[in-house]
Symmetry: C2
Subunit: 197 residues, 2 copies
DNA sequence: GTTATATTACGTTACGTATCGTAACGTTAA
DNA sequence: TTAACGTTACGATACGTAACGTAATATAAC
């Protein structure tokens, strides 16, 4: 039987210790939540993770990249809401949870990664294709269930609907001109439902 | 006649050369539009403006602060749209102009300042109280004229209306998942009008 | 009025520090 | 033998500040 020519490219040499990667990401995550993006330096990560600096560079090209990886791995863990509820209630619950996350310390991390994504294209792609897409996908799915359920009318443009919901949420998170309450979220949902956006 | 005890606190010593300040801001603005926030370093500004580094520190505490000042002075110059038009048309025109600015190189500067505002409270306040407030004030005024004009129904919450318009605009600017077209702006306006947000 | 003197704006130079990214070399695990 | 790590070291960049000299303007003394 020939070698598996696909997923396993015949690993040779000493394998990477998975604890190394985990330690780096954990340290980066902790630094990010406390001091924001500016405190996530390679040196600080190395010290906190008890790993040498060159090792970190063997995994990622720079500090913001580590921060982004840590952020995405941390937020990606959250499973989709198992909802025995009605889809519209599930939609509300899902967005309330996001609002709570934005209000919690996690919110500052989200804002920090939005900021980081502005200076490097690679980070922007990663953030958009993972964090942003995840949220949009989850909400889109629930919106479609609502439509199928006839609990709301079919929107003209579901992508616009998503922008109408997420846009103001991020806007308040980033500008801080007004709080992100459940009531605020409910009004956003109402706006989308009424306008058939 | 006694001294004016108010606005002029009797300036003594050598007055600041206004060209110095102007040169610094101009240089910072140019650097910002090209290389983004990371290329706005005190050293680069000093060289481009032909000013010494210590002088820059006499005006501002750090590089992002200079960038913010340059940005706010540049964008603040735009006068309110003189509109002999109907208020609703003026509203569309105003937001189309903003969309154009977001699409142009200026948009990258806006995004950069949003990012900068995430790490320093002072910058956040300045950005929110000047740039964000300016845009909201202008749009709020036009919305109120529309209501007075009876060209649209009175929104339940005009601040929410502003969030529904600006939120998605900034969202697309920062995430880059979809283009910022005039059609997009028109749909945002429609959403606000229909929902009485 | 003219001349000191204080005060401030600026340039020049220099310093110590932080963080960067990389290179060289030895050690350890497969 | 190969690659993952640690250790150490290096040059580079930018930081923020300090010290000093000079230029420009006010106020006060004569």
């Amino acid at each position: 039987m020939p070698r598996q020519a696909s997923s396993s490219p015949a690993p040779r040499g000493r394998p990477r210790d998975p604890r190394t990667r985990a330690a780096i990401l954990t340290a980066a995550r902790a630094l990010l939540e406390r001091g924001g993006l500016t405190s996530v330096t390679i040196e600080a990560i190395a010290q906190k993770a008890e790993v040498s600096r060159p090792t970190i560079y063997r995994y990622w090209p720079n500090a913001p990249a580590v921060a982004m990886a840590a952020f995405l791995e941390a937020t990606g863990a959250s499973d989709a809401v198992k909802s025995p509820r009605a889809p519209l209630a599930a939609l509300r619950a899902q967005l309330h949870a996001l609002a709570d996350a934005f209000t919690a310390p996690t919110g500052r991390s989200v804002a920090a990664m939005v900021a980081a994504a502005q200076s490097e294209t690679e980070l922007a792609k990663a953030f958009r294709n993972e964090f942003i897409a995840r949220n949009r996908d989850a909400t889109r799915a629930l919106l479609e269930r609502c439509v199928a359920d006839k609990s709301i009318a079919a929107p003209d443009d579901i992508e616009l609907s998503l922008d109408l919901i997420f846009g103001p949420l991020f806007y308040r998170l980033l500008m801080g001109h007004a709080p992100i309450t459940h009531g605020f979220v409910d009004r956003l949902i109402d706006a989308v439902i009424l306008t058939r956006g």
